[in-house]
Amino acid sequence: MKTEPELLGAAPDIFPASAVADSDVELVRACRRGDEDAWARLVDRYQRLVFAIPRRAGLNDEQAQDVFQDVFLILFEKIHDLEQPDRLRSWLVTTAKFKTWGLIRGRRNLHSAATEEEMELEMTNLQDSAPLADDALIELEQQHLIRAALGELGEPCSEILTMIYLRDPAASYAEVAASIGVGATSISPMRARCLKKLEKILGR
C-alpha cells in the first residue's frame, strides 16, 4: 500500500498536509456523532477536488456530477467504516478515480470494492488507465491543498494570490492594488511575502 509521501509524488516535501489530515479526522469524528454541520463542511471541503477528477479524465459535466454523487453517497454510507480517517483525502481520490474509470468503461454500476487496496488492485488490471494517471491525480490533490491553504492565509494575501494566479486572465498589479486599496508598487513585495506565507502553511 502506498504511503502518503509516495502518493504525493515528485514533491512530497511541499505538502506534508499533516494539519489537513488532523482536521479531516476531527470532521469524520463529528460526522460519526451525527453532526450535520460537520458533514456539510466535509462536502464543502472536498467538492471541488471530487468533481475535478472525472473532469480531468475527460468526462462531461453531467457524467462528472454522477461520479460526484456516487462518491459522496458511498462516503456517507461508509463514514463509520473508514479505517484511517486521516487518509480521507486519499480515500476520496481513489473512490472518485474508481467511479470515473467505471463510467469510462461503461460499467456505471460497478460495485465499489470495500477498501482502497481492492480498488487500486482492480484499476491496475486495466490496460489503459491513462485518463487517470497518478501524476494527474497528484497534481489535482496538490491544487486542492493550495486552495485550502489560500483559505487560511487571510486577507489581503488570499485576494492578492487569487487575483494574480487563479484568475484567467490574471489580474494586473494595478487591478490588484485597486482591489485591496494600496499603491501598485506595493503589490510585488506583498506578493512575495504572501507566497512565503503560503509556502509555510503548506509545509505544516
Partner: protein, 166 residues
C-alpha cells in the same frame, strides 16, 4: 528511480505558482453540493446506515392553471399549476400557486414510507426545507419565483426532480 532531491524554498514557491496557474478546476454544480450536504438528513448517528436508493423523479404531467387536472373539481385548485413526478414506486403530486411576488408550493408524496419525509426546494441561490406530515402532505410557503428542483428523503430513498421554472 533516482532519489528525489529536497526542493529549496524558491523551487517550492515556483512549483506552487505553477500549480496555481494550471488549476482549471471549478466548483461542482450547486444542486449537487446541496444534494450531498442533505445526505446527512438520514441519521449519521446510526451505526448501520442502510444503503440509500437514489432515484431521479420523472415529470409525468405539467398542467398550467385553469386547466382541469385528473379528477379535479375545485375552482381554487384549478388556479394552481399541477405537476406530477414519478420515481419508482413513489409519486410526488405538486400544486403551485402564485401571489405575483412569491409562490406557495403544496403537495403530497404518494407511496410507502413517505410519511414524515424530509423535503428541500433547491435553487442555485437558496434552498428551503420542510417535512411531510403523516399523510405525506407538505407545503413550502412564500417561496420567491424561480427555478427549483425538489429533493425528497423518504425512508431509504433519496429522490430528486429536474429543475423546473416555477
Amino acid at each position: 528511480m533516482p532519489p528525489k532531491t529536497k526542493m529549496n524554498s524558491e523551487e517550492r514557491i515556483e512549483k506552487i505558482i505553477s500549480l496555481m496557474r494550471s488549476d482549471d478546476s471549478v466548483d461542482a454544480p450547486q444542486d449537487a453540493i446541496i444534494w450531498a450536504r442533505n445526505l446527512s438528513r438520514a441519521s449519521l448517528a446510526r451505526q448501520n446506515v442502510s444503503p440509500l436508493r437514489r432515484l431521479v423523479a420523472v415529470l409525468r404531467a405539467d398542467l398550467l392553471p385553469n386547466r382541469p387536472a385528473f379528477g379535479e373539481r375545485s375552482a381554487g385548485s384549478a388556479a394552481a399549476r399541477q405537476l406530477l413526478f414519478e420515481a419508482g414506486d413513489i409519486a410526488i403530486d405538486v400544486r403551485v400557486t402564485s401571489s405575483g411576488s412569491d409562490l406557495t408550493i403544496r403537495g403530497q408524496l404518494l407511496g410507502e414510507g413517505c410519511e414524515d419525509a424530509e423535503l428541500r426546494l433547491v435553487s442555485p441561490a437558496a434552498s428551503y426545507s420542510t417535512s411531510a406530515d403523516d399523510l405525506g402532505e407538505f407545503v413550502f410557503e412564500a417561496v420567491p419565483n424561480g427555478s427549483y428542483s425538489i429533493e425528497v428523503v423518504a425512508g431509504d430513498a433519496v429522490i430528486t426532480t429536474d429543475e423546473i421554472q416555477f
